[in-house]
């Protein structure tokens, strides 16, 4: 992979050579191909898809459905109708909580890990509150490793749903969802996988993993902001109740009741965001063009480098695993005596963009015993030079905050 060439594909990176954008876990930059695909939709194919009987609307529909097929291929789903377009991973997970929640009864249990992003935590927690369900917490050690024992301890015969992220957005650890999905199935529970961080950074094959549902966001994988995905096994989706009502998700409507359209439309209420779906397809094509294998290799390289640079900064502690490979390009750390927000401020002054805070994972923060951390998260388009600048800037922070050294 020729990083310099790659960076030229990203207008914002090309225009800002002095900016080290290291907040890729929050959202990635967009290649020109993605921006152009959205633009091209509006300039050549803009119409309300699915509803029109004229060529322009057919074209809009085709682009939309081609995007669905591209997503299907990307995660190796069995059928395109198993791909539901949503706004983002958060909406996908809420859809699940509302829709699967319909069938849960008081006393049923939901197992979830302490490392979940709020988007895969609060929907289940609030569902549990509304319906009198029990939440079983799957704990992780300080390294962020979830063991089979921890999962077995939390998943009982009353467990109906196991919700788990495939990659922690704070520690970068990857959970063995294949094994854990099998445990869930042994107990008759469904396995909901949050792929918001994993899908952009490692090949994810829903059938090989055996997960029942997978949620992720386009904007974290080079795509536009308005599109997310919920994958679900057809057999399950077809039995589930729709979540949002209106638009093309119906079959018949009378005053008293309504029946629902077939998959995937049953879960896509209102005018769909075909333009951003087309953008997501272009993003997936970029993965193909760069090569996922190359991307993973490059991100591993950069991760190794970043780990060693961060380790060499005095007073700095990396949270989670003590080896680069376990971080998958996501590094949360603290610097003795300096609040993460002050670090972010100083790094910003040096043109280094990182995140500071609880990273929408307050339960994990509590487990780790820190109120907040700094997080640097990498993408294949980052460079060693940017990581050097991160390191250099970090070395000056304590001095600039008034510490003798």
């Amino acid at each position: 992979m020729n990083t310099e060439q790659v960076r030229n594909d990203f207008p914002l990176l090309a225009a800002n050579p002095h900016l080290a954008y290291l907040d890729n876990g929050a959202t990635t930059q967009k290649p020109a191909a993605v921006i152009r695909a959205v633009e091209d939709f509006y300039e050549k194919a803009n119409a309300n898809p699915l509803r029109g009987l004229y060529d322009l609307s057919q074209e809009a529909t085709e682009r939309y459905e081609e995007a669905r097929e591209a997503v299907r291929g990307f995660i190796n789903a069995a059928a395109a109708k198993e791909i539901i377009f949503t706004r983002n991973a958060t909406e996908s997970l809420n859809l699940l909580a509302y829709s699967l929640g319909e069938d849960l009864r008081e006393g049923d249990e939901i197992a979830l890990t302490v490392m979940e992003h709020h988007s895969n935590l609060i929907p289940w927690q609030q569902l549990a509150k509304r319906k009198g369900l029990r939440l079983n917490w799957i704990s992780c050690g300080r390294c962020g490793v979830i063991t089979e024992e921890a999962v077995r301890a939390a998943v009982t015969d009353r467990t109906k749903i196991v919700a788990m992220t495939q990659m922690s957005n704070v520690l970068g650890t990857v959970n063995d969802v294949k094994t854990f999905a099998a445990i869930a199935h042994e107990k008759g529970a469904l396995f909901v996988c949050d792929g918001a961080q994993s899908v952009p950074h490692m090949p994810v094959d829903v059938r090989a993993l055996g997960v029942d549902f997978l949620a992720f966001s386009g904007h974290k994988m080079l795509g536009p902001m308005g599109i997310g995905v919920l994958y679900g096994r057809e057999e399950l989706l077809s039995k589930m109740q729709p979540f949002l009502f209106g638009g093309e998700m119906i079959e018949y409507v009378t005053r008293e009741d309504a029946t629902w359209a077939e998959l995937p439309h049953k879960f896509e209420a209102g005018t769909v965001n075909a333009a951003d779906a087309a953008g997501l397809k272009a993003a997936i094509e970029c993965y193909g063009r760069y090569g996922f294998h190359e991307i993973v290799k490059r991100e591993e390289e950069l991760g190794e480098y970043a780990f060693s640079v961060l380790k060499s900064v005095p007073h700095l502690t990396i949270l989670g695993a003590d080896e680069a490979a376990a971080h998958h390009g996501i590094f949360s750390f603290v610097l003795e005596g300096v609040h993460p927000h002050d670090i972010a401020e100083i790094l910003n002054a040096d043109g280094v963009c990182i995140r500071a805070g609880h990273h929408c994972a307050q339960v994990l923060m509590k487990t780790l015993g820190v109120p907040s951390t700094v997080r640097a998260s990498l993408s294949f388009y980052n460079t060693e030079e940017e990581i050097d600048r991160l390191g250099e800037s970090l070395r000056t922070v304590r001095r600039r905050m008034g510490y003798a050294e």
Partner: protein, 139 residues
């Protein structure tokens, strides 16, 4: 601008605060929190006959929130409750970029935080202690 933001005055109040301790004779105490960044301070005052006789704070947070609390107490100890509230108002105006030069003057060292008016993400940190003070006095 941000580069010069952590000036000696802010760093000093952050690293070597005068008023960060428990206050034994406190008769007014209130906790103030910024959930989004985790700033968390507990402000205690000893008020007699409408005058702030003493004050202190404890808690955690970024340099801005900590220094702001310390500078605030430097300023309001010995002042009447009314004066403290009007200083708070002046501080809020400064942070909005709407204060007159003489108001910033009045805020003494706390005026060092005027740059926050260009840093929307840090506004909450700077005003936390002042909001807590105002709530404490007014309720």
């Amino acid at each position: 601008m941000q580069n010069s933001f952590y000036r000696e005055i802010v760093n000093d109040h952050n690293l070597r605060p005068t008023h960060k301790h428990e206050l034994k004779n406190a008769n007014l105490t209130l906790r103030g929190v910024n959930p989004s960044c985790g700033d968390d301070i507990c402000l205690s005052l000893f008020v007699k006959d409408g005058v702030i006789g003493d004050g202190a704070f404890t808690g955690d947070g970024c340099a801005i929130s900590q220094a702001s609390a310390d500078m605030m107490l430097d300023l309001v100890i010995g002042k009447s409750e009314e004066e403290a509230v009007s200083l708070a108002e002046a501080f809020f105006r400064m942070i909005k970029g709407e204060a007159r030069p003489d108001e910033i003057e009045m805020l003494e060292e706390a005026g060092a935080l005027s740059d926050v008016s260009h840093m929307p993400a840090r506004v909450k940190c700077a005003v936390l202690s002042w909001h807590t003070l105002k709530n404490l006095i007014e309720k």
